[in-house]
Amino acid sequence: MTINRRGFLKVLGVTGAALAVGRDLKAAPNSNTEIDFRGVLYDSARCKGCHGCEYDCADANGLPPPDPAKDLPLVRQTSETKRTVVNQYNTSKGKVFIKMQCMHCSQPACVAACLTQAMHKTKAGPVIWRSDKCMGCRYCMISCPFDIPKFEYHSPNPKIQKCDMCYERLKTGEMPACAANCPNEALLYGTRRQLISEARKRIVENPKLYVDYLYGEDEAGGTCWLYLSPVNFKELGMKTNLQKASYPALTKGFLYSVPTIFVLFPALLSGIYQATKNNTKNEEDKS
């Protein structure tokens, strides 16, 4: 018995230490808010709804060409074959277009959810998906507040499809395909700080054109894609009920309780075991 208990405690100590240390190390450089990520500012007041970015995106990522004319009257969603869509809304200020794609959160829920580190927040800003690590559990889809990761349900070797801000292009110094080719300059690529000050400038210079709100500045703890709009974002089908704090913060309390329970429970249970070991009398009145 003693040998076993010793062996058990040894295992427990190592596991506990590994868990505690692992979490600490991971928590330390989690100051993503201090890094100046790259992102894109989308100005829906400038977007003319040409859908050119959809074609550029499909081209750049080897996806089938979109056919927006066919399903235009509907509000479309991004899908496993469309990493971005531009939708048209009839709003209080007339026709307004809005482009949807991954928001590239500063502290992404999908990355925190991923147990294989397949979803990865790069230092540059894009959130990318790595096929060699992913096991297809789709927990990223459960966790993403914007419902962005899409799964190829009809493939025996399915991939997660989502905008990766053209990470491969960024590495060679190019811009994301959509931002590089927008004929109306509705998409501006830059560092998040630059984009925020540019957006503020546009709002101040043209207060009648824009609502005084920069979508993405605080949503889900801040995102790398930022949105300017002439109308309330609710009218454009954007999720306006999201929390301002980051989504991974929601699981922090639970994850922090793990090392505590891992150390205290065995101690407590061993204690009770020792205390009741020689109890044979009270089994009758325990019922």
Binding site: R23, L115, S131, K150, E152, H154, K286
Partner: protein
């Protein structure tokens, strides 16, 4: 004692392969109602599983981009693991609290729990889009330690090992391996302590999985207390399963159970009933506190609100009262009714969080396809087959051989 069993003990590792081969043969009747129903379903399920790996998950499921986890996760894994919670509760009572009265149900409960975990983790593999990468979070090249799912996956794995250790003396008795039996029995307490700790964490962890889906789950079911709710409800979910499973095994495998254990069984059930009533009261109170704290009074007068009230009053409060009442009256039949009601309530609760209330506002609702249901049944039936195979061979329900009793506590 069973005559075939005594002959087995004489082997003591000599012609072990011959013995194992002979044990693989079926025992008992082949054309039982259960076999006639389960075999065609299992065959159909296996065909569907082949199609799933050949054409993709979408070929046999109705999963959508908004609802990526359906019946296979919400029922097989999340609900199944809650029902398997009986193992940690009973081992806690018997080994830690030294409540010897419950000793006769430890083995069958642990076996049930172990098989549940093996099969539900197996069902999880069917749901993985890229199952060949499942080793990534295990072998250490890709540790996503910030993920609740990482924690749950590891705990599943470790807990299966702990349960196997807890059950292993029965295997040693079956094989007649006396020395190994002594070693394995000595490891029980450590495995139990480790197992209870792991269970606490992953029962609640299954709830914590859904914490980031804050806006996607109906507000009546989402709160930051989901992990605690899942943990507390796993106590009575597991014990109700023990009562339910016990009432079936005592009938089906009646010949294996000694008179002493039969009599003990009638004392065990009221005891479990009382514990169920107590934990359900705590659970109901917790739910009430959370409800008042979240201030969702306006949501009660909606279809989802009625559904919530049905779950809380019809499947928590009612079985709780039944449990308490029939414990006082010592009414075994009523306790079984309460156990079934409780199990329905747990299924309802888990599905409400994971499937029914998940994206309740989505344009396209997810309803599982018949093929998903068949695969789920295949998993359950196969588990029962293995369970029966083990019960018929190892000393799970029947008494251990006399040589083993000095090792067993």
């Amino acid at each position: 004692m069973n005559p075939t069993y005594t002959s087995v003990t004489d082997h003591d590792g000599k012609s072990i392969w011959k013995f194992l081969l002979s044990e693989l043969k079926p025992k008992g009747k082949i054309f039982t109602p259960f076999n006639i129903i389960s075999v065609p379903i299992i065959i159909l399920g296996l065909v569907l599983i082949v199609i799933r790996f050949w054409k993709g998950i979408g070929a046999i499921t109705n999963l959508t981009q908004e609802v990526p986890w359906g019946l296979w996760i919400g029922f097989d894994v999340v609900t199944g693991v809650a029902f398997a919670g009986g193992a940690y509760v009973v081992t806690f009572m018997v080994y830690i609290l030294n409540m010897k009265k419950y000793h006769s149900i430890v083995r069958v409960t642990v076996l049930n729990g172990f098989l549940a975990y093996v099969f539900y983790a197996g069902a999880l593999l069917l749901d993985l889009g890229r199952p060949w990468n499942v080793i990534n979070p295990i072998i250490g090249n890709n540790f996503g330690v910030n993920s609740v799912l990482f924690l749950v996956a590891w705990h599943f794995l470790l807990y299966m090992v702990a349960q196997l250790i807890e059950f292993s003396p029965a295997i040693a008795e079956w094989l007649g391996a006396r020395r190994i039996h002594k070693i394995l029995s000595g490891m029980t307490i450590a495995a139990v302590i480790f197992g209870i700790t792991l269970s606490t964490l992953h029962q609640s962890g299954l709830g914590a999985l859904y914490l980031m889906a804050k806006e996607k789950i109906h507000p009546l079911w989402y709160s930051e207390f989901i992990p605690i709710m899942f943990f507390v409800s796993s106590v009575f979910a597991g014990l109700s399963m023990v009562i339910f499973e016990g009432s079936i095994t005592h009938k089906v495998f009646s010949s294996q159970i000694s008179d002493k254990d039969h009599r003990a069984g009638n004392k065990i059930i009221p005891g479990l009933s009382k514990i169920c009533a107590g934990t359900m009261f705590a659970y109901f109170f917790l739910q009430l506190l959370v409800f008042i704290h979240e201030k969702h009074w306006d949501l009660l007068n909606t279809p989802m609100g009625y559904w919530y009230l049905l779950e809380m009053f019809g499947f928590v409060l009612l079985p709780m009262i039944l449990f308490y009442y029939s414990y006082r009256r010592n009414n075994i039949l009523m306790i079984r009714v309460a156990a079934i009601l409780t199990m329905l309530g747990v299924i309802l609760n888990r599905l409400n969080v994971t499937v029914i209330g998940f994206r309740w506002d989505a344009a396209i609702h997810y309803v599982p396809s018949w093929m998903e249901v068949v695969v789920t049944l295949t998993v359950i039936f196969t588990e029962i087959w293995i369970f029966r195979w083990v019960i018929n061979r190892m000393p799970v329900l029947r008494d251990s051989p006399s040589w083993a009793s000095s090792d067993n506590r």
